[in-house]
């Protein structure tokens, strides 16, 4: 029992289960899965499917936060990546090249953030704020290159990666699994994860121990840029249009929230990739539940805030202890 309540996955999982039980009660057929148009179809699949972009962004965010940094520019990077994809498709590039270009744009954005933080020593929240504010403007300017009145496009390759499926399984789930494993191996099976965590724990001490803190800090923003670019490809190809003003709006906040629900601390020094994925799933389950519930949209934000608060309270040792003490006193 003690081991169970002590494990960090217990409380977010419990929250997820509670939300799902409520869903099962209010929306009959919530868990039904069948095959439609040659792929798995149903609300649980929707949750996984829709959680992928935020989960990708949150993985990058978890790494950045592990280094005691933060990346506010992720939503704007999605906007720039999306605008670039639409622009290059209108320009007639081969779609495979566009895929690589989109990833390169994400890496470039990450390098810019990394340069500001690691080389110029600007505080991460300010450094990434610059791209957060300007990125959507850059996206609009890219749209203007080709007129921008009709930014919708068709791309079998990119749409295949986003909304397609291999066998019965949506492609984006398979690609996410691949990226997750690759990132996990990079963080947990090489020394990089340890280096990032030690830089996040105490950069000066890490430097003295012979770790190139500057290079490590630079690299986490590049990792975040790459993960975000992949999310940008999925989101843009999903609706096959570029909408720099509103695509992935507030995704930086959802990504940070996913990391925090997953037990990450903004004080740095810890990277929990699996837990971050769990956090992203909690957020998306909640979003999908609200849509399924039939509540008027005026309640969306309020319901989300209340449930998030509940999840965070569940995780807080202090809050749990306070509740337990209260019960014990009642009994006594």
């Amino acid at each position: 029992m003690r081991a169970l309540t002590g494990h960090r996955a217990t409380w977010p999982l419990l929250a997820l289960v509670v939300i799902l039980i409520v869903d099962g009660i209010i929306a009959p057929g919530f868990f039904a899965i069948r095959i439609v148009e040659g792929r798995l179809f149903g609300t649980p699949i929707d949750i996984l499917y829709r959680a992928m972009p935020i989960a990708l962004i949150a993985l990058g965010m978890a790494v950045v936060i592990g280094s005691k940094g933060i990346d506010l520019s992720v939503g704007s990077i999605v906007a720039v990546v999306g605008a670039t994809i639409a622009w290059r498709i209108k320009a007639g590039d081969p779609h495979f090249v566009i895929l690589l270009t989109a990833l390169a744009v994400g890496i470039l954005c990450g390098m810019w953030n990394g340069f500001l933080v690691a080389v110029l020593n600007i505080q991460p929240i300010i450094a990434t704020l610059i791209l957060m504010v300007s990125g959507r403007g850059i996206g609009l300017m890219i749209n203007l290159i080709y007129g921008g009145t009709d930014p919708s496009f068709e791309s079998p390759l990119l749409q295949g990666l986003s909304v397609g499926s291999i066998g019965y399984v949506p492609t984006r789930l398979i690609l996410f699994a691949g990226l997750f494993v690759a990132l996990w191996l990079l963080i947990r099976r090489t020394a990089l994860g340890l280096f990032i965590e030690s830089v996040g724990g105490n950069a000066a001490a890490a430097n003295l121990a012979g770790i190139n803190a500057r290079l490590i800090t630079f690299s986490v923003y590049v990792i975040s840029g790459l993960c975000t670019a992949w999310a940008g490809i999925i989101l843009t190809a999903d609706v096959h249009t570029s909408d720099p003003v509103s695509v992935a709006l507030f995704s930086e906040l959802d990504a940070i929230l996913a990391v925090v629900i997953g037990g990450g601390s903004l004080a740095g020094g810890r990277i929990y990739l699996g837990m971050t994925l769990l956090g992203a799933l909690v957020i998306q389950t909640l979003a999908t539940s609200i849509l399924m519930s039939g509540l008027p949209p005026e309640y969306n934000l309020l319901v989300k805030a209340v449930v998030v608060l509940f999840v965070l309270l569940l995780q807080s040792n202090n809050a749990r202890d306070a509740v337990f003490t209260l019960f014990r006193r009642r009994k006594g």
Binding site: V36, T241, L291, P297
Partner: protein, 307 residues
């Protein structure tokens, strides 16, 4: 002496004649909000092109979404003694002072697009804009005719609390409520975006067992409807055949969807509205008389049959 007087009088007379015949020498200052979205840049471009066509000297100021920039621009127009000022206000409040300054300088002010909230309505001549409420009514009327007054509707709302979302919903409901067998069975916000429309429609499809019994989708803008169309296609449904699709805006991508038979109708929110705005202003300058406070620009309904 008398000669001089005559000369003076003839110059004055000539000037008056010139002033009388020259509707084109009109100088108008136009303070635009900014250039967000697809619609507003198109609106700005049209205002500039239409001014050129009508021989109006247009002084154009882009406020980049800031009211203080708009106030600055209007004061600059007053200092330059333009003949009339058009404002596309960024917000409804905070206009009293600058409008009084314009009134003191005897420069008539017109509003385009959004409204302002002033205690003294004589501070501006008229507001010239489309009517969001009417757009909703038109969509509702089309749907009532197309469904013969029997229809379970799912609604994709715009951003919660925004004027177009509130008014389009009200207008649509005003018509739908006239028909006892028409009702909105599900309504959620897709935030005016394609992504939002697609997500909400995916959830609706699951919540209603593949839109069983649903006869129509009403979206507060085309972008959300385009997202809904994608979601339906991915679920193996046929938008416009299985479910009637009606929305507002008539953007280029919606034109394509109508032509492809994936949507049924879209109410146009016109961006080429200079041709409605300028004549009101120039006529008023020639003949200043009381105008209705709101001059409505007509909304066109485009249907797939009309393509």
């Amino acid at each position: 002496m008398s000669k001089l007087k005559w000369a003076g009088a003839s110059v004055a007379g000539a000037l008056m004649m010139f002033a009388g015949t020259s509707a084109f020498a009109v100088t108008i200052g136009f303070s635009q909000v900014g250039d967000e979205g697809d619609w507003r840049p198109a609106f700005s471009k049209d205002m500039q092109e239409e001014a050129k066509k009508q021989g109006i000297d247009l002084k154009f100021a882009d406020a980049q979404g800031k009211q203080e920039e708009q106030l600055k621009a209007v004061r600059a127009f007053i200092a330059q003694r333009v003949d009339a000022i058009i404002i596309a206000p960024v917000v409804v409040t905070g206009w009293d002072q600058v409008l009084k300054e314009a009134q003191r300088a005897k420069i008539p002010v017109f509003l385009a697009d959004r409204d302002v909230d002033v205690t003294d309505k004589s501070l501006f001549v008229a507001r010239i804009s489309a009517d969001f409420n009417l757009e909703g009514k038109l969509a509702g009327a089309w749907l009532a005719a197309a469904s013969k007054g029997t229809c379970d509707i799912v609604e994709l709302q715009g951003t919660v609390g925004s004027a177009p979302a509130i008014e389009r919903k009200k207008g649509f409901e005003a018509v739908v409520s006239q028909f006892p067998n028409m009702k909105i069975v599900r309504s959620q916000s897709g935030d005016f975006t394609t992504e939002g429309g697609k997500k909400v429609m995916e959830a609706f499809i699951k919540a209603t067992n593949n839109l069983k019994g649903i006869c129509a989708t009403f979206a507060h803008n085309d972008n959300m409807q385009l997202g809904a169309i994608q979601a339906m296609k991915e679920a193996g449904l046929k938008p416009s055949q299985d479910v009637l699709m009606v929305s507002v805006d008539y953007v280029p991508a919606m034109k394509k969807a109508l032509a492809a038979g994936e949507a049924n109708a879209s109410v146009e929110l016109r961006s080429a509205i200079g041709k409605y705005i300028y004549p009101v202003v120039t006529d008023y300058l020639k003949n200043p008389k009381e105008l209705p406070k709101w001059i409505v620009i007509p909304s066109d309904l485009h249907t797939a049959q009309g393509m």
